[in-house]
């Protein structure tokens, strides 16, 4: 397991946001944290990134316990729910920020920024500011910015929530393909099961701070482990989707 959470507990002012959370994500896999709003998904992601500290339990990344390591030294790229692009910096400066902080050479930074702009097909938009971009473009910039310092683990919080329903599906395919191409271990948060089914290799279902089930999309649909999962997951929708996917595949 590249990421392993062991018996994590976290409370906010007495409210239990994470309750004995245990799960692992394999290297190179794309996992989805799926659950209703308020079920503690963001909290888990923030603890992996070091933005919040668990009250108890161990966070392991690449075999090392990272609880006491600051987030910036965990080799993580983070895509925030509303992207959190630096609004007074251009797209290129946003992407370059992490490299500049690491005091990389000017030339190296420029090459890397160009490479990433090309990856997200925004070569000509490097001089724009975030407010001059569409929602989809912003998401792509956030993605590129997170990838710039070559992290080993990518965390994305509701990456499609702020995007028009129409473009969402397109972007979903794009992101899955990108992550596959870069080959980076990734965890993304969503409350939309269709999204999780379509994008993830592994789905981790959360409910009221607890993990209800971990498994492939198929396993979760056909063998729900708890009442909550069988109620939360809409099997018909999954099957319609699976049929669609296989007809596209053939």
């Amino acid at each position: 397991m590249y990421v392993q959470m062991e018996h994590i507990n976290k409370t906010f002012d007495g409210f239990q946001a994470s309750n004995d959370v245990t799960f692992g994500v394999e290297k190179g896999h794309l996992a989805a944290l799926l659950g209703p709003s308020g079920s503690g998904k963001t909290t888990i992601l923030r603890m992996i990134a070091g933005l919040d500290k668990p009250d108890s339990g161990d966070i392991m990344i690449d075999g090392m316990r990272v609880n006491d390591l600051p987030g910036s030294r965990r080799g993580i790229g983070f895509v925030f729910q509303n992207y959190a692009l630096f609004r007074y910096m251009t797209v290129a400066d946003n992407i370059a920020f992490g490299l500049e902080v690491q005091k990389k050479g000017k030339k190296e930074i420029r090459t890397r920024v160009e490479e990433l702009l090309e990856l997200i097909s925004m070569q000509d938009l490097g001089k724009r500011y975030p407010h001059q971009l569409s929602g989809g473009q912003r998401q792509r910039v956030a993605f590129a910015r997170a990838l710039a310092p070559n992290p080993q683990l990518l965390l994305l919080d509701e990456p499609f929530a702020a995007i028009d329903a129409k473009v969402r599906r397109e972007l979903r395919t794009w992101l899955k393909e990108m992550i596959g191409r870069v080959g980076i271990t990734s965890i993304f948060v969503t409350h939309d099961q269709e999204e999780a089914m379509e994008v993830a290799d592994t789905i981790i279902i959360t409910n009221q701070g607890r993990i209800e089930q971990i498994g492939t999309p198929e396993a979760i649909c056909h063998h729900p482990a708890t009442d909550f999962v069988s109620e939360f997951v809409d099997v018909e929708r999954y099957e319609a989707f699976a049929a669609l996917a296989s007809s596209h595949g053939s």
Binding site: S72, L85, F86, S134, G136, Q137
Partner: protein, 295 residues
């Protein structure tokens, strides 16, 4: 009908081909609306004229009543010059102290969560809710001869009450919340995602402040500084209590105006007032420019 519809809705191709339909506000064309608007503008203008423009004009006219020479004499008077110097010194000090304090407090209270942050934010507002006269008295009771730090200060030969430090202290107190109050809502609304994103990439707090927080707050900061300066230049109540009105020593311009006026030296009082009016107009201009830039 169809034509009207086309005019009130504007279709716009945004970014990568999303069709956005925006409703354009219909112009207000009713005659009655126009009448009400003119009436309100009229009342407003009349009120401003009676309350603001007229008194200011009176200041200038009275200041020049006995001619230019008398005006010059009053303004160049030794005590007036000293009062102006003290006022400027006090204002610059108060602005400097409160800017540094306000920036740190706003940064701290908007970007970090800790126990008691609401209490701290409320404490900063105290000078807004306390009468300046009482603020002055509190300082006398704290630092004066009979105050509870009196013996200590006397033993070390430090004079605060009836001395320049007291004047500065009182002004700092009264103008304390201005910069903070301007900055805090702006920084709070920004959230802390951008800061967290930068921190995750390994940026230190100073880099984060310089590259992310500061660009966001610079106009609000300048605006707060201007408000703070305006208040510091004009402060009367607190300073009046703590200064002891020592001419040429602890007299600020507003106090000096009062002294001259009480001595029936009306022309001089108005002449000195006109200095404050000029400073106020300069600040007003600066404020308008900043407001325009901020928008």
């Amino acid at each position: 009908m169809a034509q009207k519809r086309q005019r009130t809705y504007q279709q716009d191709i945004v970014g990568d081909g999303i069709l956005a339909v925006q409703k354009v506000r219909e112009p207000h064309t009713e005659a009655s609306g126009k009448g009400i608007r003119c009436g309100l503008i009229g009342i407003c203008a009349l009120f401003l004229f009676v309350m603001l423009v007229l008194p200011l004009a009176v200041v200038v006219i009275n200041a020049l009543r006995d001619g230019w020479a008398a005006y010059q004499e009053a303004v160049m008077d030794e005590y007036t010059v000293r009062a102006l110097q003290l006022t400027l010194f006090t204002a610059v000090t108060a602005v400097a102290v409160n800017t540094v304090f306000g920036v740190f407090a706003a940064f701290l209270l908007s970007k970090f969560y800790f126990r008691g942050r609401q209490i701290l934010a409320a404490l900063i507002d105290i000078p807004f809710s306390i009468s300046p006269v009482i603020a002055g008295l509190v300082f006398i009771l704290t630092f004066g001869n009979v105050g509870w730090m009196g013996d200590f200060l006397k033993a070390h030969g430090i004079r605060i009450v009836f001395a320049v430090p007291g004047v500065v202290l009182a002004t700092v107190f009264v103008t304390f919340p201005f910069v903070f109050r301007e900055l805090f809502p702006v920084l709070n609304a920004q959230g802390k995602d951008e800061e967290e994103a930068a921190a995750l990439m390994g940026a230190g707090w100073f880099t984060i402040f310089r590259k992310i927080t500061f660009p966001h707050m610079k106009w609000a900061l300048l605006y707060g500084v201007i408000l703070c300066a305006a208040r510091a230049l004009g402060e009367f109540g607190a300073v009046s209590v703590i200064s002891g009105h020592l001419r040429g020593k602890t007299n600020t311009l507003p106090l000096h105006v009062e002294i001259l006026y009480n001595e029936f030296n009306t022309t001089a009082a108005f002449a000195v007032s006109s200095i404050l009016v000029i400073l106020a107009v300069l600040i007003l201009i600066a404020r308008t420019i900043v407001e325009w830039k901020k928008a």
